[in-house]
């Protein structure tokens, strides 16, 4: 009996591993894998041409990567890092969002002004939704009834009904909207505008209809206003803090998501682009495109604690939860 217990303990210990951080490197065409407890780079593997958008399946077993110049989505095993299969995506997929149940993938096709809906199990395109010019940012409401797409040139956030795959609402935002992010309860939506230099804030009613309630602007002493370009954004699950990547200003803004006041700017690497939380929201990770690294921010203290070199021009980042 004791031997059996020892055997199972050994078995459990052998499969236990920490969170793994996956970073898509747009220029080196790779994904870098980092151990989420030691912060050591575990490996870097090829991920197709120009990997950008990156996410994991809800069970953490599959890694989805937008291979923009391959015009498809590549799917990898998060343990072996081997490619499992590809998904059709439409041309130039840049960002995507996965349904909370992991079934449908909504992909922004930058060159074709479409949002492509793909079934991750049958690997078939379910629908193509025409949106504005240069679609990029993608978000899905927690109840999965609305998908938001931002179109960079039309300067709009399109609210797509996921039952009918048609646009239900359109909202004007500032110039070149890059990213959209719902709070975990789905009652608020943030849309970043890169050239506009703002984040539009919408309250969302029970039907998914948006009402603009505010706009966040940024100002950093000594940094030219045109460098303050909001790109990626993440909000904590308690809805208290919104973190906004400010591109070439090398800063991540910390915003009180309730009062919409900017509380702090955290210095990170150059051209900070996308953000991701670790599973317990202990850390926030930033991709720094020009300095080829990611910065780890301690969420509680709101301080940058370290930066880790990755591949060339890191673009997106996601964390696959570990097994304890």
């Amino acid at each position: 009996m004791r031997l059996l217990v020892l055997f199972f303990t050994f078995l459990l210990a052998s499969v236990a591993h920490a969170d793994r951080i996956f970073v898509s490197n747009e220029r080196s065409n790779t994904v870098t894998v980092i151990d989420g407890s030691t912060w050591e780079v575990l490996t870097e593997f090829p991920a197709g041409l120009r990997p950008r958008g990156i996410t994991v399946s809800p069970d953490g077993s599959k890694l989805y990567v937008c291979a923009s110049d391959d015009n498809l989505v590549r799917v990898f095993d998060t343990s072996s890092y081997e490619e499992l299969f590809t998904l059709p995506s439409g041309p130039d997929p840049e960002l995507f969002v996965l349904e909370p149940n992991g079934r449908r993938l909504y992909i922004a096709n930058e060159d074709d002004n479409l949002v492509t809906v793909v079934d991750t199990q049958t690997k078939e395109v379910l629908a193509e939704v025409p949106v504005g010019v240069e679609p990029e940012g993608m978000a899905i409401s927690p109840n999965a009834r609305i998908v938001v797409n931002t179109s960079e040139t039309t300067n709009m956030a399109h609210f797509i009904d996921t039952e009918t795959n048609t646009i239900k609402y359109n909202m004007l935002v500032d110039q070149r909207p890059r990213y959209a992010e719902y709070t975990s309860d789905g009652t608020r939506l943030f849309v970043t505008a890169e050239i506009g230099g703002t984040v539009s804030v919408f309250d969302i009613d029970g039907d998914g209809a948006p009402t603009e309630v505010g706009k966040i602007s940024f100002q950093v002493a000594g940094v030219q206003p045109e460098w303050l370009q909001p790109v990626g954004a993440k909000v904590t699950s308690d809805g208290q803090w919104l973190f906004v990547a400010l591109g070439p200003s090398n800063r991540v803004a910390v915003v009180d998501a309730k009062t919409l006041e900017v509380e702090k700017y955290i210095l990170v690497g150059e051209r900070v682009w996308q953000l991701a939380f670790t599973p317990g929201e202990e850390y926030l990770l930033t991709t720094n495109g020009n300095t080829n690294d990611i910065t780890v921010i301690d969420v509680a203290s709101q301080e940058a604690v370290r930066s880790i070199p990755v591949g060339q021009q890191p673009w997106g980042v996601i964390v696959a939860p570990g097994i304890n």
């Binding site: 002493a221 000594g222 940094v223 090398n250 210095l267 150059e270 940058a304 370290r306 930066s307």
Partner: protein
């Protein structure tokens, strides 16, 4: 042994008394680095941060980078101030009195050095407190961990001051010391800019910075502040400190001190 301690206590007390009675000295010791921190750093690429170099683990602002260098600057100026006071003592004749005390010369000079280091470390902590109030700080543990580094660097820079004081003949020559010692020592170091950046501009200047012991005093403080250890910096600071002190002891022979003792200044 008691005689040694009495002399030590008297020299330290005298230095402290001199320091506390010179409010202007304390004020300038704080204002000088604050001007660098708040004005120079603001105008000198403060906004976008600087690349990661050890011991830093991530990007830092320029203010954060120069903080350890400014601590070392306080110690450097303090070492020079102590040497100024020795030149003054020599002109006033109290130096001869001190060196004729029935104790080894090295002990008297070491006591003087300890007193200077103590005052210098106090100034550094006062400056760090002010810097923290302006939002430029060290990791919490760093405030404690830099103490040994400050003491060792303070000894080396104080010993340099002692050595210089043995070479400077008159108070008037101190301006020359400022021009030819303090400024080159400070600017040709890693206090204000990382050495790799200096190397980008001039390979020669990079090597000058790399052989400047002050660079290693700065790095010793910098590494300690971030819970890291630079054995190379420690070694260089300790060895140069011992050398400077040894030469000072030799330079302060009674014969030499007598030769230079001029009594009160006639001016």
């Amino acid at each position: 042994m008691t005689r040694y301690l009495v002399a030590f206590q008297a020299i330290v007390a005298r230095e402290l008394l001199r320091f506390t009675s010179q409010r202007g000295r304390f004020l300038s010791a704080l204002v000088r680095p604050l001007v660098w921190l708040l004005i120079f750093a603001a105008g000198f690429r403060a906004a976008l941060g600087i690349s990661i170099i050890p011991p830093y683990l991530t990007y830092i602002t320029y203010e954060v980078y120069i903080l350890p260098g400014l601590c070392a600057m306080i110690l450097l100026f303090n070492g020079m101030q102590s040497s100024l006071s020795l030149v003054y003592d020599r002109e006033m004749g109290s130096m001869r009195l001190l060196l004729t005390a029935p104790l080894p010369r090295w002990w008297l000079l070491l006591s003087k050095l300890c007193a200077g280091v103590f005052v210098g470390v106090l100034q550094v902590y006062a400056f760090l407190l002010l810097a923290a109030l302006f939002g430029v700080d060290l990791p919490p543990a760093g405030y404690l961990l830099i103490l040994p580094a400050l003491i060792i660097a303070g000894f080396m820079l104080g010993a340099l001051g002692l050595l210089i004081s043995s070479l400077v003949q008159q108070l008037e020559n101190f301006a020359t010391v400022m021009n030819f010692v303090i400024f080159p020592v400070f600017f040709l170091s890693s206090a204000l800019y990382p050495l790799w950046r200096m190397r980008e501009s001039s390979e020669f200047l990079y090597y000058v910075c790399a052989v400047n012991p002050f660079t290693y005093a700065v790095e010793l403080i910098r590494f300690s502040a971030y819970s890291a250890f630079s054995s190379m910096s420690l070694l260089i600071v300790v060895i140069t400190g011992i050398l400077f002190f040894g030469f000072s002891v030799i330079a302060y022979t009674p014969a030499r001190a007598g030769q230079r003792g001029r009594g009160p200044s006639q001016t």
